[in-house]
Symmetry: C2
Subunit: 355 residues, 2 copies
């Protein structure tokens, strides 16, 4: 247990996308600096960071220099190569810890961990080859979803099986990557809990948000979620147990399915989460500042919500709506400064005050 | 009338203090970049800016290169040398305009402008030498305050006269600078209005905040101000008239005295203002984003307040209170990342939610 990070200290962030950008702004609000490490040129986070390293995750010298220039390291996405993390961690602490990252990087490890914690997950089975897939289908049935164990996000690395006949094509589409077959869950709502824990062991959760996806990408998050109070409490308690079990430090996004039988954990993300962007206009301390507070060893914000919000992602051509959204006094715009608009690319989001 | 600034455009900011820092963050939120021009090393705004030029205001080459790298220029303080502004304006537009800046840079010009607009100001007289001061005292009486016409802020460049006998020492303390003698105003409250106007001529004002000063520096701003509804409306209308008269583009701080005879305009600041920091946690669009929206030709936020706030400046050793303030769920911290704590130095502020 070290002292809280003082004013002027520097937090290293692996990844320079919009999450790194909003983390940088939150760090600045607390008088802290950020140093972004990102392979791509002109990352969104560079506009608001004290320092930027443009280098690949295989560049050991650059990783070492980066680690030496900062007081601790965090990350804005979970698919960071293990060797890069080893290089950094030899020099400076990484929060959230490697166990949390390792658990969430691998769907099989993640589901096993959650199940062992006594939480409900969708039926799942390890799929290493065609024979294993056949056995998995026999066990779980169809419809089901075949997902790569690693490197999946926003619906990528997934294939849907509507019947056992889809097995071969589903396996082909994953190109031999180790995979997990997940049973199809019939849910009435998707919700997520943004939870935080600091090194002192304090935990604070935001109210669950209700998520709507479109084309496999988060479309909207609405708070409060339209679910019974009992499930809201369940969701928060369950999320807190996950953080506690991992001795977690930072913010985590916990995605849940609401079913007639109760809550099923879909997945966990060891970082600030798109479904927590509503906190920027709904809470005194938003998820980005909460993450910085947690990893810096500061007291956590209490997570209470002062305003009802619907967050909507602005994807691709949604940017054409910005002039109209800017006129709406109920809309808070958050744009990422990305030069090129592409279909499916997250360009910004809008938090609409609803109550 | 040009088109609104698009995503990725760059705003130049003259001055790299905490106001420039918070303007940079607001620009980023709208997908815009900032380039800070500041003579001092490691200015607070540099941590969150896309680019920084460290050069003096007399460095014409640096000013030209700065102006050529940006789409428009704004400023975070009003005491910028005229020659520097001339150099910049030959290349790129400056908002708010030179007339607003020139008016507010000079107390005599400012008071004359306000009076000609039909607004009430404290009795004042031009003081060029001892004879003029004697005449001014005969006209205005004592107590009175002798203020330099230019380069005053946070109570600097001022001398109080409790009787005519103080004339010589007051004049000495201003070291020959052109000055204005102001009659003492007996007020029941100090308030300020943060007002914005865009190139389209739209105007939006925030609710007046009530200010308390300590040692000549703003200590707290509380919204709503504890004044009659009629005066709140008067204050906003009066501020809007000032912006309109100056064909102003940007955010302006208008400081007012509340007296039994009505409102007296104390001074105007052609920039975001310390007494508007409460908007960060009280409004969907804060004064910093409002300023960026205005100068970028975007629609303005409507200025409505969703939360009651008391803003308190954290000055010098107030930083020792940060660990306790960080624990208070009602407190939103905003620290400026300044390395050295000095007496009288603004290190940050806290917005306390009060309702």
């Amino acid at each position: 247990m070290t002292d809280p990070l003082p004013t002027g200290a520097t937090i290293g962030i692996l990844g320079g996308g919009q999450l790194g950008r909003m983390l940088s702004v939150a760090a600045a609000r607390l008088g802290l600096r950020t140093h972004i490490y990102e392979p791509g040129a002109n990352p969104p986070a560079a506009d608001v960071a004290h320092a930027v390293t443009t280098a690949d995750y295989t560049d050991t010298d650059a990783l070492r220099a980066f680690a030496q220039s900062v007081d601790l390291v965090t990350y804005e996405f979970e698919n960071i190569p293990t060797a890069a993390l080893d290089t950094v961690e030899a020099i400076v602490p990484i929060h959230p810890n490697r166990r949390a990252l390792g658990t969430s990087q691998d769907r099989l490890t993640e589901k096993t961990f959650l199940q062992e914690l006594g939480l409900t997950v969708a039926p799942f089975a390890d799929v290493t080859d065609a024979a294993a897939l056949e056995a998995a289908i026999a066990q779980i049935g169809t419809p089901a979803i075949l997902k790569t164990r690693r490197f999946g996000y926003d619906g990528k690395g997934q294939a849907r099986l509507t019947s056992p006949d889809d097995a071969a094509s589903a396996l082909d589409s994953l190109a031999g990557a180790p995979a997990v077959l997940e049973g199809f869950v019939s849910f009435t709502a998707e919700i997520s809990v943004i939870a935080a824990r600091n090194p002192q062991g304090d935990i604070a959760c935001y109210d669950p948000g209700e998520n709507v996806h479109r084309d496999g990408i988060l479309h909207t998050t609405t708070v409060p979620a339209n679910i019974p109070a009992r499930l809201r409490t369940d969701a928060v308690l369950l999320a807190a147990r996950i953080l506690n079990a991992l001795d977690y430090v930072g913010v985590m996004g916990v995605e849940l399915f609401v079913t007639p039988q109760g809550l099923i954990v879909n997945e966990i993300a060891p970082r600030v989460h798109n479904s927590g962007h509503w906190t920027q206009n709904g809470c005194t301390v938003d998820q980005f500042e909460q993450h910085i507070r947690a990893i810096a060893g500061w007291p956590l914000g209490d997570g209470s919500r002062h305003t009802d919000i619907t967050m909507e992602n602005l994807i691709g051509d949604d940017m054409d709506r910005v002039p109209d959204l800017a006129k709406d006094p109920k809309c808070a715009l958050h744009l990422y400064g990305k030069a090129d608009t592409k279909p499916g690319r997250k360009m910004g989001h809008v938090n609409r005050v609803t109550g």
